[in-house]
Amino acid sequence: MIEGKTTDKDLPNTVSNLDLVTPDRTYLDSNELIINMGPQHPATHGVLRVILKLDGEKVLGTECVIGYLHRGVEKIAENRTYTMFNPYVDRMDYVAAVSNGLGYCQAVEKLLAVEAPPRANYIRVILTELNRIASHQLWLGTHALDIGAMTPLFYTFRDREEILKIFEKYCGARLTTHAFRIGGLQYETYAGFEKDVQNFVNFVRPKIDEYEELLTGNRIWIERTRNVGVISAKDAIALGVTGPVLRASGVKWDIRRAQPYANYAHFDFEIPTGENGDTYDRYIVRMSEMRQSLRIIEQAIAGIPEGPITAKVPKVIKPAVGEIYHSIEAPKGELGYFIVSDGSTQPYRVRVRPPSFVNLQALDIMVRGMLVADVVAVIGTLDIVLGEVDR
C-alpha cells in the first residue's frame, strides 16, 4: 500500500509491484513522483489509464490499468449462434471492423471446412485493404496531433471519408460494417463499385505523398520521433508484438505472406520493414504499407473473377465438434480466433487474440528512460484501440 500523502486520493492498490515511496516534502523535489495519466486523457486513444513513476521528468516505470471498456464479448459469444455473433466482432476494433469480420468468418468457414468462392475472396481483399488504409489514416491523424502537428489530422480524415463512403454504398454502414457473412458475402457489389474504388486509389495516392511532405522531412517531427520508444527485434518477438510495430524492428513477417488466406497469394506486394524499431521507423513502415495496400487493391480490381459470392452453407450452422485457430493480418497486428465448437449451433468457446492488447504490453519497455512527453508519442505509435484491448 502507499503510505504518506499521495498526489491522487483514489489511487487503487493495483500499484503494488511499483515500490512506491510517495514523499510529502516539497512537491518539486526530484525523488519518485507518481502521476496518473487517467482514463479521461486527450492522448490515450480511449479509456486507458497509465500510472507513471517519474524521477523529475524521466519515466522510471509504468503500469497500465485497463478494463474500463470490458464488455465480455467472449462470454456473449457463448450465448449466441455463429451468425448472430458476427456483428459483435466489428465492435472490438471499431477502427478496423472489416478485418475483424474477415477473421471471424474465415475461422468459422475453416471450422465448417468450407471455402469462400474466389469472387467473394477478391471483394473481401479489396474491402479489407481499404479498411487497412482507413485505419492507418486515423492512426496518422491522431498520432501527429498528439505530437503537435494539427494539419495532418484534417488531411487524413478528409481522405478517410472517401473510404467510408465506399463502405456505406456497399454495405450500408460506415464504421461497424458487418460486411461479410460466413461462407462469403451478403451483397453483390453495386454497379460502379470497381470504378469508385479505382477513382479512390488514384485520388489517394498523391495524398499520401502530401502527408509525407508535411511530416517526413519535418525537422521537429524527426527530432520528436527518432530514437523514441525503441524496441529491438528480440524484445519484440519475446513480447509477442506483431504488425507494423514488429516490422519496424526489422522482422520481415506478415501473415498475408507467411500464411496466405483469402487469395492473398495471387497478389504481389512488398512487406516494408524498418531498422532500429523507433517511432520514426514505425511511421515510415505504416506509410509504405498504405502504398502497398493501394497496389493490392489495384491488382484485385483488375482481376475480379465472375461467379457466385457465397459458398453452399446450411441455413443453420452446426459445425462438427472440434477446435481451430485462425489468424489474419489486421492493421494493428495478428488478429487470431480460437473457436471451440461442441456440435451445437452456438460456439462453446471463442477466444480472440487481440493485437492491441499484446502490443500495449510493450509500452513499459519502450517508455522506460524516456520523458513524459514521449509517453504520449509512444502510445500513439503503438496504434492501440481500447475496444480491442479490453474486449
Binding site: 516539497t26 512537491y27 518539486l28 526530484s30
Partner: protein, 176 residues
Amino acid sequence: MTPVATPLFFYMLSGIAILGGLLVITRRNAVHSALALIVTLLAVAGLYLMLYAPFVAGVQIIVYAGGIMVLFLFVIMLVNLERTVKQRQFNRIWPVGLVASCALLALFLSVYEKGKSLFEGRPVPTLTEASNTQQVGVLLYGNAGQIGPYTFAFEIASLLLLVAILGAVIMAKKRI
C-alpha cells in the same frame, strides 16, 4: 534643456519607492514582498530617467526587474514557504533593533552635516539627453583607441561575474 518632468513626478516616484520598500519589509507573504521590491526598482528606474540617464534606466529595468526579480520569484515559488508564514513576524527583541536603527540614523545625519560643505549647492550639470549612452560608452571603453578611465574596473567586474557563473554551474552540475 528644460527639465523633463515637473517636481510632481519626482515626489511621486520617490514616494512610490519608499512605499514599496516599506511593503517589502512588512508583507507576510514572500511573493507579495518580491512584487513590492519590483515596484521599488521600477520607481528607481523612473528616477534615473529624471536624471537624464535613460541608458541606466533601461539597464535597471532589464537587469533588475526583468532578470534578478524573476529568479527571486522562481526560488520563492519552487521552495513553498507555507511554514515561514506561520512563524511570528516580530520577534520579542524588537526594541534592540529600534535602538540600533536610531543610532545608524544619527550617524548618517552627522556625516551629512560635516560633509555639507563638499556639495556646492548648485544643481549638478546634466548631460545632454541624446548623448548619455555615448558618454557611458566613452567612460567605460574609452574613445577612439585610448582606454577610458573605467575600462580596467569594468573588465575586473566581468571577470568576477565569470567566476560566479562557473561556481553556479559546478554546484548544479552534480544534479543534472
